[in-house]
Every structure is written in structure tokens, then in C-alpha cells.
Symmetry: C2
Subunit: 281 residues, 2 copies
């Protein structure tokens, strides 16, 4: 391995430079370039098409917030659909909820799964759990064609600016997801940097609002993605994120987390005043 | 002006690079090097001894959180002491609370005040307000010797690692502050990066806990300081930050903010689970 500096852009005028020990893996799948890089402060990192997809340091923030916010908001989540999420981190967090029946995972890139199982086994091996059914195909086609419904849909994709994920941020895809949700169903999705990519994030939320009766923004700091709290979408037909809080406080959490807790669940929906005016209309 | 790249360190292995248009001011006072730099994405920046002290983009987050969290937690804040804060941003936010009688500001470096009035007039000119009394002296000596008491003390200093501020993060200083607070008094202070400088921040909070009966951590994202939410301390003899919330929700805010609102006031005290275990013991 050769030491080097990995650089990621926050904006055209701001970059972060990370000192790294070297590259553990580099390959090109049918869909993207896949690299695994060892960094000093963020630990091992999965890089897709040059963009950090996850790091050992902060993947727990991302996966816990994508999963536990919707799952603890739902009164009884049984069937879960994960769109993307080939690294396995989202499935790992869903599996902490012992009450769930089944996880249907739809990932387009078989090689991401293989690389994660090898280099991030604490994430990737979750996909071998008997409750998880992994389908390697395009999730856009999958949700268009399925007849069954889910309690929770988790959109764990790459960013909307990156090629094959664009369709996962479109109104037709969101409509298919709405149709695939039960009456109390919830969709959660990672969206983007609300401060340095406001227009992009705003466009995604406007599309979600065309489709879902309830659309809420929530935030969590993921330093390997950007300098400011990163945004997620909470969407449903009727359920609000506050609804699960009382129950959660009563019964408590039956498993360990590194980032998520009931106070964080509530606090994540507190938007800065200038964003509240724009996004919580 | 010559375009250049300003670099700041998040850790020994992580740096942020900002594209800049050039340097507007550079001087050396008796205490520190003072620079004003024009950056593309953060706007104008005040740099003290090479460290970003404030930027136009996110100074409102810092100043609003340092000021409004304690002031809205107190039932009737009248007399305010600002330690440091020579740029004037803290005084500007305090002045939005119409009920206050007087601001006593103690700043050690006369030149910071002059530079701010010239290059950051929307902050610096607050110091010319008739309710503000600016004293140019060492605040450590000031709080040691004063006999009067304050409802709120705001410690708006440079970081503890930087020379002349070290004494502002010491037990003797905190004891003098406690003695200078009324029974319902509150001290708020900027502390540091709880994630990349955990040991330093932990040490400061341990000192505060030696002195104050109530010590709470609260967080806000200030991207020009670091990659993750930055920490502040809320300290008092009896008052908790939740106490002002009901009143604030009832009466509402009589002025505009960019970042702070009641939801943020509450959410800022939600600590990630791994930090809650360490800091909210």
C-alpha cells in the first residue's frame, strides 16, 4: 500500500483532504468504480465512482438514522424493503428490531455486495441472515412490478447526481413506492447536503411532496459526506415521526446504538430557522 | 488581492481547503496575528493566529447559539457579561433581547474590535450601542476583582489551545464566574470539537463540573470550525435549559434569527448515544 491523500469536494470551492494509508481494493463493476481505501481518521472507506459511500468512523450515524427513525415511528413494522444498501449496513440495523418478519433487499450491483462482505464484514455479513432476501436487479423496475406491500421502504442509494441513482429520485419511482406501502407505511431516504447543495435537495423534497401526504426533513452529521448535517426524508401516508416517540420512551430500546437515541430521534427534526421556512412549509 | 487556498486542520490527518479571493487585512496586535480573508463560499473570514474565528456564512449559528440558548432559559436576564467577543457578534445577538439593561463586555485585544468595526460592521458596530460598555482588559483579572453580579456570563473566547485563552478554561476562572452570577445566573461558553478533540473537550467539561451544579453540553454545526457539530457548555446553579422552553413557546420570539428557534434550542441538547454516555453522566 502507498500512503496518499484522498480528496472530496464539499462544493466547487471547498475540499476536504484525508490522509490515507493506501488502497485495499480497486475494481470496476458494470455500474461503477469500486474502491476500498484505508484512511487514518475515518478508518476503512468504501468509495464508489470516487465518492465516499461509507466509512468505519461514521457509517453508524448514517445507517442508524436511515433505519431507526422510521422503524421506531411505525407501530409494528414487519416487512421491510431496502432499495440499494448493498454494503449491508442498513440490513444490519433493521435486523436489530427483533419483531420484523422479512427484509427484501434490491441492489443493482452484485460486486458491491461481494466487496462489502470481504472488506466490511460487520456490515456485509448481515445480508446472509435468514430473514434477508437479496435480489440483484434494478429497484426501479422492482417497485414498478411488485404486487406486495411493505411497512417500511428504505432508499439507501448513492447520490442523485451519480448516474444509476437518478431514477431513485424521481416522481414515478416515488409513486411506485407509495403504492408498495401499507396504510401506515413509511419511506425513508438519504437525500443530500441541505446547505451546500440546497437546490438539489430542495428539488428532491419537492418531488416527494408531489407524491406523499407527509414529508419531513431530518438531519444527522456525517462528516465523511459533508461539513454540515446531512439530510434524510421521512415520508408516509399518515404517520409522523413524533408518533413513535412516546412508545419508544415507554418501552425503551432493546439494543445498543452508537448515535441514535430517543432525544436524537426528536432533535433530528429540528431544522435551522432559515431551512424550516423553506422545507417545513 | 491574490487568490489563494486557506487551509484549516480538523485533525492532524484531515484538512479543509477553502478557495479564497485574497487577504483584506493583516496585522499583528500585542496578543495575536489578525487577518481578514475573503473566501468564495464562507464569505469574509476573521482569522486569529491562523485559526478561523468567524465567517460571514456561519457566524450567525455560533452567535445565536451562544446567546439565545442561555438568555431564553433565564426568566428575566437584565445584566450580561461578555468575556471576549471583540468582534461584536455576541453583543449584537444579546441586544435583540429588548428587556436587557446592560452589557458589560471585557475584551483583551483592542485591535480585534477595530478590525471588526471596519470589516464586519454588522457585528462590530453593536459595540457602539448605548447599552454596551466595552472594557479593554484581561477578563480573568476582571472577574477575579468585580463585586457585582450578572444574570448571564457568555464566554466568547478563542480556543483553549490558543495562548491567551487558556486561563478562560480553568477552574479558578470558572469559580470567579460562579461568584459573579446571580442565583438564577447562567454561564454559556464555546468549548470545542467534541468528536475530533474529545479529550480536550472532555477536560473542559470536567473542570466545569467541578464548579457548577448544572453543566450541560449542547451542539451546533459550524462548518468553518470543524466537520461535526461544535460543542457549547450551559452551566448554572439551578437553571436547566428546558425551563425557558415552555415560556418561549408561549410568548414566541420577538425577533428574527437565521439558525436558532425553539426546536433547535431543545434539539441542541440531544447528544449522540456514545457522547451522552460520556458527557451527560
Amino acid at each position: 500500500m502507498f500512503p496518499y491523500i484522498f480528496r472530496y469536494e464539499i462544493s466547487p470551492h471547498i475540499s476536504v483532504y484525508l490522509e490515507c494509508n493506501g488502497v485495499l481494493h480497486s475494481s470496476r463493476s458494470s455500474f461503477q468504480k469500486i474502491e476500498v481505501v484505508e484512511s487514518l481518521d475515518f478508518g476503512r472507506m468504501l468509495i464508489l465512482d470516487g465518492v465516499i459511500n461509507l466509512t468505519e468512523r461514521d457509517e453508524s450515524v448514517y445507517h442508524e438514522m436511515l433505519v431507526h427513525v422510521p422503524l421506531f415511528s411505525h407501530p409494528d413494522p414487519l416487512k421491510i424493503l431496502i432499495v440499494g444498501g448493498g454494503d449491508g449496513g442498513t440490513a444490519r440495523e433493521v435486523l436489530k428490531h427483533e419483531g420484523i418478519d422479512r427484509i427484501q433487499q434490491v441492489e443493482i450491483d452484485r460486486e458491491v455486495i461481494a466487496v462489502s462482505k470481504k472488506y466490511f464484514p460487520s456490515l456485509g455479513l448481515a445480508l446472509d441472515h435468514p430473514k434477508v432476501n437479496v435480489l440483484v436487479m434494478d429497484a426501479i423496475q422492482y417497485v414498478r412490478e411488485i404486487e406486495e406491500t411493505f411497512d417500511i421502504i428504505l432508499v439507501d442509494s448513492t447520490d442523485p447526481v451519480i448516474g444509476q441513482s437518478e431514477g431513485l429520485f424521481s416522481v414515478p419511482f416515488y409513486r411506485d413506492c407509495l403504492n408498495a406501502l401499507t396504510e401506515q407505511g413509511i419511506l425513508a431516504a438519504q437525500v443530500g447536503d441541505i446547505s451546500f447543495e440546497t437546490d438539489l435537495v430542495s428539488a428532491v423534497f419537492n418531488k416527494l411532496k408531489e407524491v406523499f401526504p407527509v414529508v419531513r426533513v431530518y438531519l444527522a452529521p456525517i462528516p465523511s459526506y459533508t461539513l454540515v448535517p446531512y439530510s434524510f426524508a421521512f415520508c408516509s401516508k399518515t404517520i409522523h415521526p413524533e408518533m413513535g416517540l412516546a412508545r419508544l420512551r415507554r418501552i425503551g430500546m432493546s439494543f445498543q446504538t452508537r448515535y441514535y437515541n430517543p432525544q436524537i430521534h426528536q432533535g433530528a427534526f429540528a431544522l435551522p430557522e432559515h431551512l424550516r421556512k423553506e422545507f417545513d412549509k
